[in-house]
Symmetry: C2
Subunit: 191 residues, 2 copies
Amino acid sequence: MLSKGDKTRAEIVEHAKSLFYERGYDGTSFTDIVNAVGVYRGNINYYFKTKDDILKAVIDRHLEEFGALLAEWTARHADPRDRLIDFVHMIAERQAALTRYGCPIGTLNTELGKDRPELQRSARALFDLFKDWLVEQFRALGSSSDEAIALALHLLGRAQGVAVIAHVYQDTVLLQREVAQMETWIRQFSL
Amino acid sequence: MLSKGDKTRAEIVEHAKSLFYERGYDGTSFTDIVNAVGVYRGNINYYFKTKDDILKAVIDRHLEEFGALLAEWTARHADPRDRLIDFVHMIAERQAALTRYGCPIGTLNTELGKDRPELQRSARALFDLFKDWLVEQFRALGSSSDEAIALALHLLGRAQGVAVIAHVYQDTVLLQREVAQMETWIRQFSL
DNA sequence: GTCTATAAGAAGATAGAC
DNA sequence: GTCTATCTTCTTATAGAC
């Protein structure tokens, strides 16, 4: 059971998550967040000492949500190829947001990676979450540890590249075509 | 012959270009720029009315420099495959900056694409420059117009994806491995 | 064309009443 | 736990002397 405070805190994190995605971390002000939540100015500083603390809570929320997705795909299929295909299908399912705002994980890391190495290290955990899961799938397909890492980063990179281009050109057709190619690439692995 | 004013203007653009790349557009202030150039506060507003005007000048400078590179590759090789390989070799040559700051074109478009559609349209010209050149090369390799566009955007996306992952993980080894894969992919085309 | 001073606003963060 | 007021700093931009 959530107390009133927990609920307010969760709402701040949820709206901050959306705003950081849609406008960027620097592009989102405390005012933007409290306006979205519908609370008053001072409240945000009751729950979070600094803006960086909000970001860390947002990253944790992302980790929970994406972690749940990965668990779902793992539970749904025994064949690692089907799991990997769930991963690339996510890209097609989220095409509207991806073309409008880019990849939530990629754009956040890109922004923080410029000149905030400490915050980017926190945000990198989101990439690690996907990377480690992908490595597991390629390992299950018979790859060595090194090969599996290379394949995981290759697929992660393909996904990021598609997201960047689709975002720049607002192009959902390209996104779908590239997803289909990734699916073909996955299907050529054998157990 | 450059007048004194032209030289100051060019220096402002050159330093702004570096700073926008290293710290992001929003992350760079007028103070940062004048400090880097070594001129006084007011000068920048003598040459540029707004910050957006500086960005447009920076984009034009990028267009000139990358345009010159493309012309060089075109002049150096008759075989479009060799030209394409020059393109991917650029990624390996610039690995230090790419792992530290990401792709100058990709990160700029990603930042502006969040909530500045008008500025992002200007920055997209940088992608168009590469895209159109890549399309020409794939056309010369016998692709139809539609195929050539798809192949150009595919390679552009691969390059962007590699840059994102290499930046996130500060990983030059991955970058070189992916460049080698792109080279292999290019070599399988026949005239 | 160069330099100084400052305007006008928005940002993150804090203090304290209720 | 909620709300108001304010501090300090930094931002873009402008005005005007030299």
